[in-house]
Amino acid sequence: MSEENTDALRCPGNQALSELVDGENELPNVSRHVSDCVRCKDVVGVYRKIDRATRHDMTPPEDLADRIKQACREVAPVKKPLVLWWTSPSLRVAAGLLITAMLAALAMNVARDSKEFALAAKEPERMGAVIARNPNPAPAAAFPANDRTVVQGDEMRVVNAQGGAATGNTYASIQRQVVLPAEVKHVWTVEDLESAEKYFLSALPASSRPTVRQLGPARTGLTVFLRDQQLQALVEGLAAKRWDLVASALPQPRKRNEVRFVGRPVLYDVQLVEKRRVRE
């Protein structure tokens, strides 16, 4: 037998050899042993060879950073804060004048409208008429907000009290279709969480970039990127699987006509909750 130590009983464990390879927690007696032991020297050599091999090709493409910057600008445009232009004195004065002028115009407009509205309100009484009440008013949410938001003509459609298209002499209202917000949150209750999660993932288009997170033993959170039409189709598909949607935010199953589809990318934030756990 040579002088080299090949007695496995005296050799340090693999963890000590691994730490030696990493240069962390280096113990002098381990280094000394390895320099004298054929077996350990061999193991350390193989560990280093494996490290070199598995580090191969981890270099990103040269233009990766540029592409990331571009993607960030496109997907998530950030508005420059007011702070930057507010530091300019001339712009501050101009903004002040503009705001004052707008407030004055608004005040005049409100005063005129109030007068006109008051006259209009008295008009039926003056004519001896009785104001008819709609016995089946459409849900409040179906109406445009009672504000001064400009609504384009093609955003509106005539509907009956149930939200369907108005026909014949039914009472009709003007309903405003809405564009989905950039982020939609929904909660779905499902029979079996695992199979539901699998189905959900398999129903997504390839570009949806899903993220899955466990929120508890009976609750899973998923976020995906979808276009508004894709999201409506997904919601209808999930409802067809007899999942229950426990959220009022659009899009809703069978309410496609309440959404104005503009191809907008939407972040869909979903929670899947197992029904039996809910019952418990």
Binding site: N14, I50, D57, V75, T211
Partner: protein, 197 residues
């Protein structure tokens, strides 16, 4: 640049970004996109997937940065996002069957008899183009790395990234230091056995 200096520069860049200087974000991307890519590549072994994940990492950061309070270092936050997205992509690939899956029943080391976990192992043969410039041992090593249990694979992948200390990895994976040392050693030993070298 030392870690302290890097962290300090990151804090300054974040402050400038929050004040409206978008170029500060560009600098963060230039500094850290390489690391995000390496984490993703280590988990996924696919250049395309790693690029997609690293892009997603920074899109999320771009959106969330205005609310980032700096309670942890930017790099720790970024690594966590990268690791989570890469894991999700890995599982997504499996669930979509975009890669050929081989399911085996194998107990993890340390588990008691009858408590074996099913491992879904993704086969990751390199395409002929990708094989150019990669020697046979590297190919085998990468293929075997992908077949290690997730716990071991992730620890070794992170260790292979330059300047990731054991402490960094433990913080990122939420484990004790000893656990990380053990996982890395087991990963190496398992690869040594599988590669029969």
């Amino acid at each position: 640049m030392s870690k302290t200096e890097t962290a300090k520069e990151d804090r300054e860049l974040i402050a400038r970004f929050k004040a409206g200087e978008l170029e500060a974000f560009d600098r963060l991307v230039e500094k850290h996109s390489r690391r995000a890519y390496q984490i993703a590549y280590g988990v996924l072994s696919s250049k395309e997937d790693a690029e997609e994940v690293s892009q997603d990492v920074f899109i999320r950061i771009y959106r969330a940065l205005p609310k980032f309070r700096g309670e942890s270092e930017f790099t720790t936050w970024m690594y966590r996002i990268a690791m989570n997205l890469a894991r999700n992509k890995y599982r997504w690939n499996k669930s979509r069957g975009s890669q050929r899956n081989i399911s085996i029943d194998a107990p993890l080391d340390g588990s008691r008899e009858g408590e074996g976990r099913t491992l879904d192992v993704v086969e990751t043969r390199l395409t002929p183009d990708a094989q150019v410039g990669v020697d046979e041992f590297e190919q085998r090593a990468m293929a075997e790395l992908q077949q290690l249990p997730e716990l071991y694979r992730e620890a070794l992948v992170l260790r292979n990234i330059k300047e990731m200390s054991y402490e960094d990895i433990a913080g990122l994976l939420g484990c004790k230091l000893g656990t990380i040392k053990s996982r890395i050693a087991r990963a190496r030993e398992e690869l040594r056995k599988r590669l029969a070298v």
